[in-house]
Amino acid sequence: MIEPIDLELIITVQEGLPITSRPYALIAEQLNLDEAEVIARLSKLKQQGLIKRLGVIVKHRRLGYQSNAMVVFNIPDALINQMGQRISQFQFINLCYQRPRHGEQWPYNLFCMIHGKSREKVLQQLSYLIESCALENYAHDILFSRRCFKQRGALYFPSGSGFSHENRD
């Protein structure tokens, strides 16, 4: 369970860290803690994995990554972990997950995201991936995104219904 003080800390930092010389001191002041305790608690949350990452979240479209594709493969179950680990090493692979198949409607079980600056570039990267990992014999598909209808931030509380950014593109 998450300790009450940690929960308060999470609520305070979820929208962003203060951009000021002593950010953790400022947070501490808001919570009536001292700076050292805030640092210790955040370090602990990071170590436990509750905080996956601390840093900047970019708007990839604003960085010129206009072509975003979900690339999916049907990999035999016995090979999925090996292939997943291998594919995730490529620089242009931004997310990589095993997910369930849905019969003939959806025969794919390995999902990756490629964020590219053009459609051609993404297709080249996919060809390179297939060739490098000898994936020619496995069914695959590429689903470019056409429109983004909704993309909201990662607020956990107080509405509580918002989590992180997995699978966004």
């Binding site: 951009i19 436990q48 990839h60 997943g84 997950y97 056409r146 983004c148 909704k150």
Partner: protein, 147 residues
């Protein structure tokens, strides 16, 4: 955005220190002043190139649940379906994609049980089958888009 901004973005995608003067520490490795880093970071956030600066939480460890789901929305009712789905606060993002399964969205809920409840409600309201594709395994990638 200049070269220094690019280096700042790339560096801060890798992580941010948890210590008393974290900006100073990062600035030193970048050979710029702490003040310059703070100003540039603020400008990048204000201009919308960065969507956020802070922690990314692990949903499941927070007690919550996430899933990726898709529907086959008929062309003539596509926008109506999108509106219905996006009205759910649990829908974190939603994308049109080129496939028979042409609408893909992420659900984020406070508890694992709520995922199925929301899916059932979406099925009732849209009359469509929702294909639920929760992650079975995540393979680590360095989440980084070079600026």
């Amino acid at each position: 955005m200049d070269e220094i901004d690019r280096v700042i973005i790339n560096t801060l995608q890798e992580g941010f220190p948890i210590c008393a003067s974290p900006y100073k520490k990062v600035a030193e490795t970048l050979n710029i002043s702490e003040q310059a880093l703070i100003e540039r970071l603020q400008t990048l956030l204000d201009s919308g190139i960065l969507s956020r600066f802070g922690p990314l939480f692990h949903a499941e460890q927070m007690g919550g649940a996430l899933t990726l789901a898709a529907v086959k929305a008929p062309k003539d009712s596509y926008d109506t379906i999108a509106k219905i789905i996006n009205a759910f606060p649990e829908v974190a993002h939603n994308y049109a994609r080129e496939h028979a399964l042409n609408m893909w969205f992420v659900l984020a809920t406070e508890t694992p049980e709520q995922i199925q409840q929301v899916i059932s409600q979406i099925e009732v309201q849209t009359g469509l089958t929702v294909y639920n594709m929760p992650k079975i395994q995540e393979y680590f990638v360095g989440l980084k888009l070079e600026a």
